[in-house]
């Protein structure tokens, strides 16, 4: 690690609420220009960690520096260099999208013209005169990101930005987030959408019970999981015993071949052998090959039991 040069350096962070250890010894670094994700189930401590890094809360113990400055106590010299997006509804009441952005711009001494520019950047130029209460979920989220970026910060914190959005709005927002990152900003994001972290983040930390369980680039975490690939084709192209024989030939147990009446699926670490075998039987209709995802890593680390 680059040590002093890190844009964000967190070392052995501790925070308790009464008997609950919300954050219990968290350390990580984020380099300049990196897109860093903090993942974890509800109550894992990711929001508390983020709030301490932003400077909203004081840690019980540990060190946090952002852009080389301590995050606590509230530092008016640091604040203009960071941008924070909290929630889609963190707005002044009854202002239009443009007035909202202009107000936030003025808090940072940024001219009003920049606010109009930002409306264009987040694709809300047509909604400029609409009150924020009347914006759709995706539009409100874009506006709140625009408010976080209006003063051109070096570091941007996003707390579950796609929380309650539909798939179209989420993908639409991802493009915006990629653009923010491509401009050279350091971005820290918390989410519990694994697909989001996998497509956006350079590096992720998976948290649970106040500690970081695993950290690294999403692809490396998935590879480290070392799960078999799942090869599936449409059902009824291959008799069951032929499928089991094929699985055995590829070095897996015959039970690795399952047929649920819709798809025949073979889990394997030797996809080449399985694919060749399927091709021999001319049974490739509806072929799909899927590997483990970040979600598998996440579930393996944090367990599958439901938590409210």
């Amino acid at each position: 690690m680059a040590g002093v040069a890190a844009t964000i350096a967190v070392r052995d962070l501790q925070k308790s609420y009464g008997p609950v250890r919300a954050v219990d010894g968290v350390s990580f670094e984020v380099q300049r220009g990196e897109f860093f994700g903090i993942l974890g189930p509800n109550g894992a401590g990711k929001t508390t960690t983020l709030e301490i890094v932003e400077g909203l809360r004081q840690a019980d113990d540990g060190e946090v520096s952002v852009l080389g400055l301590p995050a606590w106590p509230r530092n008016p010299a640091l604040l203009p260099r960071i941008g924070v997006q909290l929630q889609a509804s963190s707005f002044f009441e009854r202002l239009t999208a443009r007035e909202q952005l202009q107000t936030f711009a003025s808090l940072y001494g940024v001219p009003a013209g920049r606010a109009d520019e930002m409306l264009g950047v987040v694709g809300l130029a047509d909604q400029a005169a609409i009150r924020t209460e009347k914006l759709s979920g995706g539009q409100a989220q874009r506006l709140s990101i625009a408010c976080a970026l209006v003063h051109d910060p070096e570091v941007v914190f996003l707390d579950e930005p796609t929380g309650a959005l539909d798939p179209q709005a989420r993908r639409n927002l991802w493009d915006l987030l990629r653009q923010i990152s491509a401009e050279g900003r350091t971005v820290v994001l918390t989410t519990h959408h694994m697909d989001e972290a996998e497509t956006l983040c350079d590096r992720v930390a998976i948290m649970d019970h106040g500690v970081i369980l695993e950290e690294g680039p999403p692809a490396a975490l998935v590879r480290r999981l070392d799960q078999p690939l799942r090869v599936s084709v449409e059902s009824g192209q291959l008799p069951a015993d032929a499928a089991r024989a094929l699985a055995a030939r590829a070095g897996t147990a015959p039970e690795a071949a399952t047929d649920d009446g819709v798809s025949l699926t073979i889990a394997t670490r030797d996809p080449a052998a399985v694919l060749a075998g399927l091709a021999e039987h001319d049974a490739l209709t509806g072929l799909r090959v899927s590997g483990a995802t970040l979600e598998d890593v996440f579930l393996q680390l944090t367990g599958r039991e439901y938590r409210a």
């Binding site: 609420y17 932003e54 400077g55 909203l56 509230r74 008016p76 604040l79 203009p80 960071i82 924070v84 909290l86 929630q87 509804s89 963190s90 707005f91 002044f92 009441e93 009854r94 202002l95 007035e99 202009q102 107000t103 936030f104 003025s106 808090l107 940072y108 001494g109 009003a112 408010c147």
Partner: protein, 354 residues
């Protein structure tokens, strides 16, 4: 634009565009003024209407000799038909019918309204008395002089206007502060502001500025409406002293709202707490029931009601004709309330719900 100015503008826009707030802080108090003003106005001027049947010289002489004083207690209509006049008295259109038979004045009245019946008899008895005394050609041996204990200008509107204005300012400032604080905490705008380089002082001053502005608008609206001839509020010499009273009163009630907002977790809870504080005060602090007419126990209780000081402070300088210094004790009490409650509110204040 500076952060302070744009914050003030954002909050002012938020207020002006909030129809409910506008209705509660401006429209309803003004409607109350119309309502209360009219009620007190009609009860304050009981005038009897009398039908003069034929020519009643005694009445005409009395009217001519009283220099218009008689006209203040009695309105006279002339008629020639006794039957029609009696019918009007029965129906209540007129309070009495009067005719003269030689040296006898005949007054016919209805007993339906006993107070009016009493007034009618008393007025005519005094007219006859006066005529007898004049006829005797001797100066009156005894004189009667009457004067009310209050200032002559102290009509009910002089109590009603400052009372209702005090209530309007108090609820505007309390609800404004409480709801802003809770809703900004709920939607995390408070935290968002904390993460911007703007100072807490700028945010607080902007909010106070908006509330003070709203209170001054309420003051102006009340003064304009209450001083119309219909209501007849007469502002006394040092009425301008009501402006500092309003400013300090706004601060005091904002500090109550601040405390309510600091304690409450939700907007509903904040509204409930604010109502719980303001509503009893409206009745016990001299706003809806003028303290001069209130039972003794209310007058005692009113001393612990912050609203009392806002209302009496304004009354003293704008309606009672007392000097500017008469508002100073009220201002002092309200400043003390502001200081104490703000200190407590700061101690229980939370940036967020956790």
């Amino acid at each position: 634009m500076t952060a302070f100015r744009s914050l003030s503008r954002a909050m002012l826009r938020g207020f002006v565009r909030d129809r409910t707030a506008m209705v509660f802080t401006i429209l309803i108090p003004v409607l109350f003024l119309l309502l209360f003003g009219s009620i007190y106005k009609s009860t304050s001027a009981p005038k009897v209407s009398v039908a003069e049947v034929g020519r009643v010289s005694l009445l005409d002489q009395a009217a001519a000799g009283s220099h218009g004083q008689l006209g203040k207690v009695m309105s006279i209509t002339r008629t020639d038909s006794l039957a029609a006049a009696l019918e009007d008295v029965r129906k209540g259109t007129d309070d009495a019918a009067v005719l003269q038979q030689g040296r006898t004045l005949v007054v016919r009245y209805s007993i339906a309204d006993q107070v009016t019946a009493g007034v009618v008899q008393a007025v005519f008895a005094s007219i006859v008395q006066q005529a007898n005394q004049t006829a005797s050609g001797r100066p009156a041996a005894y004189q009667l002089t009457v004067a009310q204990v209050e200032d002559k200008s102290l009509k009910p509107i002089q109590y009603v206007a400052p009372g209702l204005l005090g209530w309007a300012i108090a609820s505007g400032a309390t609800f404004g502060a409480a709801i802003t604080l809770v809703s900004w905490r709920e939607n995390k705008l408070l935290r968002r502001l904390r993460l911007s380089p703007v100072s807490t002082a700028s945010v607080v001053t902007a909010r106070v500025g908006v509330s003070v502005g709203v209170a001054l608008i309420q003051l102006a609206a009340f003064l304009i409406i209450a001083t119309t001839p219909y209501f007849g509020l007469k502002l006394t010499a040092s009425w301008w002293m009501a402006i500092p009273v309003v400013l300090v009163g706004t601060l005091a009630f904002m500090s109550i709202g601040l405390l309510a907002g600091a304690i409450a977790k939700t907007q509903q809870a904040a509204t409930a707490i604010a109502n719980l504080v303001i509503l009893p005060m409206a009745f016990l602090g001299g706003a809806f029931i003028p303290l001069d007419f209130a039972p003794a126990w209310i007058r005692q209780v009113s001393y612990v009601m912050p609203l009392r000081y806002l209302v009496t402070g304004m009354q003293n300088v704008m309606a009672r004709g007392e000097g500017p210094a008469s508002a100073l004790p009220a201002i002092g009490v309200m400043l003390a309330i502001t200081a104490v409650l703000t200190l407590i509110a700061v101690r229980v204040f939370r940036w967020d719900d956790i």
